[in-house]
C-alpha cells in the first residue's frame, strides 16, 4: 500500500474498532479506503463482519414486557405510599 494509506497490519489492529464504530470519521474512512484497495485484507473484514453480525444478533429475546412494566409501576407506587 502507498504511504498515504494505512498499512495492512495497522488496519488489522483496528478492525474490531472499525466494526464497532469506535473510530474517528477520518480513521473510519481510511480503513474503508484501504479495504477498497487491498484484496489481502478484504476476506478478513468479510469474516469479522459475518461473525460480528452473528454475535450481535444472538442477544436474548425479551418478549412482551407489558405485564412486567405494570408490575414495576405497581411496586414503585406501593413503595412511595409507605414512605
Amino acid at each position: 500500500m502507498n504511504g498515504d494509506m494505512m498499512d495492512c497490519e495497522a488496519v488489522m489492529r483496528k478492525l474490531w474498532d472499525f466494526l464497532d464504530h469506535e473510530l474517528t470519521p477520518a480513521r473510519m474512512e481510511a480503513i474503508e479506503a484501504h479495504m477498497h484497495a487491498c484484496q489481502k485484507c478484504q476476506p478478513h473484514l468479510a469474516f469479522r463482519d459475518v461473525f460480528h453480525r452473528a454475535v450481535t444478533g444472538a442477544s436474548e429475546d425479551v418478549g412482551d414486557t407489558t405485564a412486567l412494566a405494570a408490575r414495576v409501576r405497581r411496586a414503585l407506587r406501593a413503595e412511595l405510599s409507605v414512605e
Partner: protein
C-alpha cells in the same frame, strides 16, 4: 401533585422506556426469566430511590445497566469473587491464544449456512466472567466502549482488550461446535505423536 409524585412521574417518563433493555440485560445476567423479572423490579426500585443522583441528560440506559449489574452481583458476591480469581489465569491463557489462527473460511461458511444463535449464547455464557461482561454489554446491549467501561468500572483499554479476547474465544468455540455438530468437515488430525496409556 405532591413533590414525590412529581419525582415519580419524572422518573417513569425518563427510565421506564428502557424497561425492555434492562430486562434483556437482566436476562443475560440471570439466564432465567423469573429471576430476571425480579432483578428488573429491584433495579427500578433502587433507581427511583437514587433518582436524585441521576444527572439529567446523561445516559439513563447505561445508568440503569450499572444499577442492575450491581444488584445482581451483590446477591452473588461470593460466587463472583471466586470466578474473578480464576479470570486472571484465564486472561493469561486467552492472551496466549491470541496468536493462534482461527480458520476464518470454515467459520464464515458455518455462520452463513446455519443459525448458530443458541450456540453463540451458550458460548458467550461460558466465557470467563471478565470477558463475558464486556462481550455482552458491547455485542448484545449495544454499549459503546466508554459506556461499557463506566458500567464495569474498568479502563476503556481493558474493555478493548477483553472484547478482542472474548471474540477470539467465541470464534474457537463456535468452530468446535460447527465441527461437532457436523456443520463442517472434521478438521485434519494433528500429526503430533499420540501417547498410549
Amino acid at each position: 401533585m405532591t413533590s414525590s409524585q412529581d419525582t415519580l412521574a419524572d422518573f417513569e417518563e425518563t427510565a421506564m422506556p428502557f424497561l425492555s433493555d434492562v430486562m434483556r440485560f437482566a436476562l443475560s445476567l440471570t439466564r432465567d426469566r423469573p429471576s430476571a423479572e425480579d432483578l428488573v423490579q429491584d433495579t427500578f426500585l433502587n433507581a427511583r430511590r437514587s433518582w436524585h443522583q441521576f444527572i439529567t441528560g446523561s445516559d439513563c440506559r447505561a445508568w440503569l445497566f450499572t444499577i442492575c449489574r450491581n444488584r445482581f452481583y451483590r446477591v452473588r458476591e461470593q460466587a463472583e469473587r471466586q470466578i474473578s480469581t480464576e479470570d486472571a489465569d484465564l486472561e493469561s491463557l486467552a492472551a496466549a491464544r491470541d496468536l493462534a489462527q482461527v480458520d476464518e473460511t470454515a467459520l464464515t461458511a458455518a455462520l452463513e449456512r446455519s443459525d448458530l444463535r443458541d450456540a453463540i449464547r451458550r458460548a458467550t455464557y461460558g466465557l470467563p466472567a471478565a470477558f463475558r461482561d464486556v462481550a455482552m454489554l458491547v455485542d448484545w446491549h449495544d454499549q459503546p466502549y466508554d459506556r461499557a467501561a463506566e458500567i464495569l468500572g474498568i479502563p476503556v483499554g481493558t474493555v478493548r482488550s477483553r472484547l478482542f479476547r472474548a471474540r477470539r474465544l467465541l470464534q474457537e468455540q463456535l468452530l468446535n461446535h460447527a465441527h461437532d455438530a457436523g456443520l463442517l468437515p472434521a478438521p485434519p488430525r494433528s500429526s503430533s505423536v499420540e501417547t498410549q496409556s
